[in-house]
């Protein structure tokens, strides 16, 4: 039995250690220079340069919440709120606990709504408001994955203990119940975070009044239109068109250039 425990602990520890091994960091200095140049430009009010520098970083493979945050901020300060919303959403996907990114996201949405309301009298943005999203908003996918592993281990360890020892103590029942709840919670969270319960990757509409058509063709009949900043799910692709289902339920084909994906390739199924 002791050997069994030792094996389990070793496996878990090995997993955690390998999961925490940092990525090679040799690239940081050069990328750091670009990042610094972007920040200098942003601090001088040269948002165009700041945006270009941050995009250069992203093009070089950087997938960092702070870079997305700064890009979102530069875009917001230059008045491009839909793209700011997209980048804040990306930052929050990578670091859900980032309260400043959340605050800036709300500010960008509010600014977009106010700008639109001034012109049209009334405006609102279609954004996700599901309970599950709200429940798991502050958890990262990796955090949930590790929680799942630990809960899995605890649950089966408690079960094994009960089986071998024929123990029926209250503490054991509490451990079993607690680990089972944690297991279910983390498994459900994983399913939500990885998009298993969604029809496709999340996206933001980047242009205002994007026509949603019945087919992937500019001549196809228009079903409706999506507004800049609206959220949706990408459900189908065809050459330069992508089919989006916006949160309000409207579905249609739009040019890929008019939409920005929140989830990276790795985060979609």
């Amino acid at each position: 039995m002791r050997i069994l425990w030792a094996v389990l602990v070793t496996l878990l520890a090995a997993g955690v250690v390998s999961a925490q091994q940092p990525e090679p960091r040799g690239h940081v200095s050069k990328l750091g220079d670009i990042f610094a140049a972007a920040n200098v430009a942003a601090s001088r009010g040269d948002h165009a340069t700041a945006i270009a520098r941050h995009q250069e970083l992203i093009a070089a493979g950087v997938h960092d919440p702070d870079v997305y945050f700064n890009l979102g901020t530069s875009l917001a300060q230059s008045g491009d709120y839909p793209r700011a919303i997209l980048n804040y959403e990306r930052a929050l996907t990578l670091r859900p606990s980032d309260s400043k990114a959340s605050a800036n996201l709300r500010s960008a949405e509010r600014a977009l709504e106010e700008t639109r309301a001034e012109a049209e009298g009334e405006a609102s943005i279609q954004r996700s408001s599901s309970i599950s999203d709200a429940l798991y908003r502050r958890f990262t996918e990796n955090g949930l994955a590790f929680t799942l592993l630990v809960a899995n281990f605890l649950f089966f360890a408690a079960l094994a203990w009960a089986w071998v020892r024929r123990s029926r103590g209250r503490g054991l029942y509490a451990l079993l119940a607690g680990s089972a709840v944690l297991l279910l919670f983390s498994a459900l969270g994983m399913a939500i975070k990885t998009g298993l319960l969604r029809e496709g990757p999340r996206a933001v509409v980047l242009e205002d009044r994007v026509a949603l058509r019945e087919g992937p063709d500019p001549r196809a009949r228009v079903r409706g239109e999506a507004r800049g900043g609206d959220r949706g799910e990408l459900v189908d692709w065809d050459r330069d068109f992508v089919k989006i289902r916006v949160i309000g339920g409207l579905e249609g084909w739009a040019p890929t250039t008019a939409l920005g994906r929140i989830d990276s390739d790795d985060a979609t199924h």
Binding site: H63, G79, V164, T257
Partner: protein
């Protein structure tokens, strides 16, 4: 009513007070003296200003002529303030104190120097000392040199090259190699030689001009002196500057004259320190071109190079970092490396980092280049070998260092470019200020593989349930085996086996005990009630009721009686009888198990 003792005390206190009042009439004496009063130029002498005071407080003691003559230099100054207090009936309390300034001075020039008296002020009264005259006669050395120019000593040796000698303090520039190759290290050290005490914090050196050199200076954090004797005189030598200089062009290059300003240390808080300034001499270096023939782009020094990639596999469109380190002795900041173009790979400008340090006296270190290589097409990409030619001035030979060719591969189709995000020409709204501030630090992480997609994740997830299943199966098998061990048949077999073992061991007592136990166990199992302790009549009734036929009942009773008897008379039993008993017992047990119970 005043008691006599109190009266005595009052009288005593009054007497003391009167005595102290009487002592307020102070007396003072002031002296001015020198030892010796006649000296040779260059020699030292001591000068003392002293005031002795009785019964008063010294307010001031001045000696205005101390710095009247620049020909007499103050080397050091010491102050002492002894005080003595005494009591005595009749004379009251006596306070006697003195103040003494002792100066160590050096006579620089011959002449007669007259000092006016020192003045002391005690309780408002002024007291004067005697005047003093010092006679300085010419020394042999001073007689040959002009007094206005502090000439070097008559024998200036090789060790004083790079210096303009001064008996009190001078600067010296020491260059270890006066003929070098262009780019070769030249060690330059500037020393301050002093024969007088230096107030450490007052030293303010001005570095020499070193045009045409690339200079790496060692940090001098504290003045540390060492004693050196020059022409019989001890000097303290301080390192003011230490540098490794690398000539950048051929011809004669000059290291300019260093300068320094400092104060001579004094022990007195009241005397202003003497300020001294000195200038060194320039030094010329002959710089030769590198010998020919040789590579045109050779760097001076001795180096090794190493290259590595931070990853071997990337997605197309992602970046790999190539790092090249050149390590060795020489001016690494001269080093240049060009990365040739790589097909299918976009190369960003490298970032260069230097880590310089001294290997003994030689400056060297590591220069690192980091290139970001972005794979634009899928496939295998090769970073060619990078070569570095150098000229080693120690061996006076050319050499070359090279890296290995490195490979990395990119897979997948290049990701379509993100929608171009060009900021719209929308004026920033009034609320623009609510965004930010931007973050000045970022880990700049790349898209790491999520935990759930790591290879070990599903295995780690599957291990607990799998182990649980294995554990369940193992425990179930063990329990079944345990149950088998304790079943009736197993017990029966065990008892017969034990009887057989006792037979083989010729142990009749144990044998018959196991025989009785075996038959009794079979009856217990069959009748589901214990039969041990029943009389023969009760046993017969019980067995008949359980469906046993008369013959079997009789055999059981006979065998139990016989075994009981034999247990207690074991000595009369032989082995053959025991074997027959065992056979009978096995037959009886088998018949017992075959008995069909009555409904």
């Amino acid at each position: 009513m005043i008691r006599p003792l109190t009266l005595v005390c009052l009288v005593a206190i009054g007497t003391l007070t009167l005595g102290a009042t009487a002592a307020a009439d102070a007396e003072a004496e002031v002296f001015l003296s020198a030892t010796p009063r006649e000296v040779r130029a260059g020699q030292t002498f001591s000068l003392e200003v002293r005031a002795n005071i009785k019964g008063g407080g010294l307010e001031d003691l001045t000696f205005a002529d101390l710095k009247k003559y620049p020909e007499l230099s103050v080397i050091s100054h010491q102050t002492s303030r002894p005080m003595q207090v005494s009591f005595g009936f009749g004379s009251g309390m006596k306070v006697q104190s003195s103040l003494s300034h002792q100066y160590l001075m050096r006579a620089l020039r011959p002449g007669t120097f007259e000092f006016s008296p020192a003045v002391a002020t005690v309780n408002g009264k002024t007291y004067r000392s005697n005047p003093l005259t010092i006679v300085v006669v010419a020394s042999d050395a001073a007689a040959t040199a002009g007094p206005s120019s502090p000439a070097p000593p008559p024998e200036v040796g090789e060790e004083l090259s790079g210096a303009r000698y001064d008996p009190r303090a001078f600067l010296r520039t020491v260059v270890e190699q006066e003929s070098v190759y262009v780019g070769q290290q030249v060690d330059v050290t500037v020393y301050l030689y002093t024969h007088v005490g230096v107030a450490g914090r007052s030293v303010n050196p001005t570095k020499p001009a070193m045009d045409g050199f690339w200079v790496y200076e060692e940090q001098i954090t504290a003045l540390e002196g060492s004693l050196i004797t020059i022409n019989g005189t001890q000097y303290r030598a301080y390192v003011l500057q230490k540098a490794a200089a690398f000539p950048q062009r051929t011809g004669e290059l000059t290291i300019g004259a260093p300068k320094v300003a400092f104060d001579i240390g004094t022990m007195s808080l009241f005397d202003a320190p003497e300020h001294i300034e000195r200038t060194g001499v320039p030094v010329t270096i002959d710089v030769k071109p590198l010998p020919k023939p040789g590579p045109v782009d050779a760097f001076v020094g001795k180096y090794s190079v190493r290259a590595r990639l931070d990853r071997q596999n990337v997605k197309t469109g992602n970046a790999v970092t190539l790092r090249v380190d050149a390590t060795g002795v020489g001016n690494i900041q001269d080093l240049r490396i060009a990365l040739p173009p790589i097909a299918g790979v976009r190369t960003l400008q490298p970032v260069v980092k230097d880590q310089q340090r001294f290997y003994g006296k030689a400056l060297g270190g590591t220069r690192s280049w980091e290139w970001i290589l972005i794979a634009e097409t899928p496939g295998e990409h090769t970073v060619p070998a990078i070569e570095l030619d150098y000229f080693d001035p120690d061996s006076q030979q050319y050499g070359s260092a090279s890296t290995q060719a490195l490979k990395f591969s990119s897979t997948g189709i290049a990701a379509p470019a993100q929608p171009t995000v060009s900021p719209k020409e929308v004026p920033a709204s009034r609320e623009a200020a609510v965004f930010g501030p931007i973050r000045m630090y970022s880990a700049l992480t790349r898209g790491a593989t999520p935990v759930r997609e790591r290879n070990w994740f599903p295995w780690l997830l599957a291990v607990p349930p799998l182990l649980f299943i294995l554990l369940t199966i193992g425990v179930s098998l063990a329990r079944r085996r345990e149950r088998r061990k304790t079943s009736a048949g197993a017990v029966q077999r065990t008892l017969i086996d034990e009887a057989r073992a006792a037979l083989r061991g010729n142990d009749p007592r144990t044998f018959y005990d196991r025989v009785v136990a075996s038959i009794t166990h079979a009856l217990d199992t069959r009748t589901t009630e214990p039969v041990r302790g029943l009389s023969n009549v009760e046993l017969r009734t019980r067995l008949v009721a359980a469906g046993f036929d008369d013959d079997l009942v009789q055999r059981v009773i006979n065998e139990l009686e016989g075994a009981d008897f034999a247990r207690f008379a074991a000595s009369g039993v032989n082995t053959e009888e025991m074997e027959r008993c065992l056979q009978r017992t096995e037959t009886i047990v088998e018949r017992i198990h075959r008995v069909k119970g009555r409904a």
